[in-house]
Amino acid sequence: MKIAVCVKQIPDPASPYELDPTTYNLIRPNEQVLDDTDRYGVEVGLQIAGDTDGTVTLVSMGPSGNLNGIRQALAMGADGAILVDDEALKGSDSLTTAKILAAAIAPESFDIVIAGTESTDGYSGILPQQLAELLGVPALTYAKKIDVDGSTVRINRQTATGFDTIEAPTPVLVSVTAGVVEPRYPTFKGIMDAKKKPVDTKTAGDLGVDIQVDQRIVMVVPAPSRSGGQVIVDEGDGHEKIVAMLEQAKVI
């Protein structure tokens, strides 16, 4: 199977995120990391490719920076990457991102396109569905388990109360939840190989996508903060303090 995995480079979530004070865009440093959410998609792609003698191509939009995040995914074992980087794409919405990814993916005739259910930095949680519609393929979303049987892909789709088992023939898009598989850690060889793997960089113009963003942040204000209460060290009587609070809240 020919598999595309959508992956995103994001600012390291371990350091606090900041918005540019004038454009309100998220500030993206040169060194970004692979969104942890996408490690699951890469792993699923690699497993299916392994079982079907297939290939895994990463597809990404965003500032390339030093490519650290893309290399992380290549080091896991993906074969190559297509990266769309264009100054004009700064501050793009999810729909524009989906159009770019669709334009990069469509000509390659992939059997399965994989994405996360929502990214860590933007978490709009709608890009996979937008992408499926643009590609004209069914979407198997929120997968917590995936099986490929010939040209049929079957998943357990997370629901509020359990899961539905749903299936569709390829070509198909699958969005995967965290926890669907245990992502592998790159080996030393993987890390070395990743440096040599092909990264095909394109611009929005190369793909012929018009950029049109119809939403604009107009105001960012601090939220009325919840004042933290008292914090006390348990000296063996912590539970008594809690009981007193529960009485005050009239729940006991």
């Binding site: 918005l19 309100y24 919405d93 999810s94 729909l95 989906a98 929502e118 978490y123 709009s124 949680g125 709608i126 890009l127 996979p128 569905q129 937008q130 499926a132 519609e133 643009l134 004209g136 069914p138 979407a139 198997l140 929120y142 079957r154 109360t161 359990g162 899961f163 539905d164 088992t165 749903i166 299936e167 569709a168 070509p171 965290a178 926890g179 119809d214 939403q215 604009r216 942040i217 107009v218 960012v220 204000v221 601090p222 939220a223 903060s225 933290g228 209460g229 914090v231 006390i232 060290v233 348990d234 912590g238 539970h239 008594e240 303090k241 809690i242 009981v243 609070m245 529960l246 006991i252």
Partner: protein, 315 residues
């Protein structure tokens, strides 16, 4: 003119849909796009919450119906040209909204907690775990698509009459509509529902093991509380996803939320920080959860919880 997309659940119209419908009454007489088998009772509920008109979309037998419903909605929206189409930040709603956005070429504002139509359509979202409030305005022509988080508005009936219901045939969307439902599984759940409970006891990785979640259940019993969890322990397989509180789980607003061994990551805070009272037990005095707690106990859950359980059981 505001449209509200509402999915049918096992218990009738989705709770988040009725919350949004309540809000939509402020924006005019709302029209509901109802997705599911439907019934007189369901339509009466929609009318009671303020819907004057309902377009009813029924998925074909065995199909998920998502792509077909999207195609039908795009046609309806082109014909009637609503100003806004509101959805809940839930799985099915995201599936339909995402497709609709791409089909109609309309942007979506996601994770909204409020929406205002006032010389333009503006949506409020929370950033950085709720530390900042962001206002985003739509530009260009409607319909403007908005996803609103559950529990953003109270659901209040208005005593409205039964709405006019129009059954809308679903077109065949071709290959995009090929997803079929072949089975389903509902997790057993006992006790009060997370979204409705007055008290929630939630556990995180600090419990140390799946077995230790038993402490959470023991504490919940005398308080008639629901039990909740962080994503860390859902992903670890200690508890089912239905217990997850946070950005990708449930949003809750109980009278009391007791967080046990939970660090307070922003994705967790988003789902529970509007609880009336928050109590946290964590052995790390620097844990961010203490920043939102009315009472923080710096201590070991394995020390504090057994004593607390005993104290409550002896009352």
């Amino acid at each position: 003119m505001a449209w509200v997309f509402i999915e049918e659940t096992e218990t009738g119209p989705a709770a988040v849909g009725l919350e949004i419908l309540t809000k939509a009454r402020e924006l005019g007489s709302p029209t509901v796009i109802y997705f599911g088998a439907g019934s007189e009772a369901a339509f009466a509920t929609l009318g009671d919450y303020g819907a004057t008109e309902v377009f009813h979309l029924v998925p074909a037998e065995g199909s998920t119906g998502i792509a077909a419903a999207t195609a039908a909605m795009a046609d309806l929206a082109t014909e009637h040209n609503p100003d806004v189409i509101l959805f809940g930040q839930t799985y099915t709603d995201r599936d339909v909204a995402g497709r609709l956005s791409a089909r109609m070429g309309k942007t979506i504002i996601s994770n909204g907690i409020d929406v205002a139509v006032d010389g333009g359509v503006g949506v409020t979202t929370e950033l950085f775990g709720g530390a900042q409030l962001v206002t985003t305005m739509f530009e260009g022509e409607g319909p403007h698509l908005v996803l609103l988080r559950p529990k953003s508005f109270p659901a209040e009936p208005a005593g409205g009459a039964a709405p006019t219901v129009t059954a809308v045939p679903l077109p065949d969307p071709g290959h995009a509509g090929a997803a079929r439902v072949v089975g389903n599984f509902i997790e057993e759940s006992q006790g009060p529902k997370l979204e409705e409970a007055a008290v929630i006891i939630a556990g995180g990785r600090g419990l140390g093991s799946a077995e230790a979640f038993g402490l959470i259940e023991q504490l919940a019993a005398p308080l008639k509380a629901a039990t909740g969890a962080t994503r860390a322990i859902v992903d670890a397989g200690w508890v089912p996803y239905s217990k997850q509180v946070g950005q990708t789980g449930k949003t809750v607003k109980p009278d009391v939320y007791i967080a046990c061994g939970i660090s307070g990551a922003m994705q967790h805070l988003v789902g529970m920080k509007d609880s009336k009272m928050i109590i946290a037990i964590n052995k790390d005095e620097e844990a961010p959860i203490f920043g939102v707690a009315d009472l923080g106990i710096v201590g070991d859950v394995h020390q504090v919880l057994p004593k607390l359980i005993e104290a409550l059981e002896n009352r």
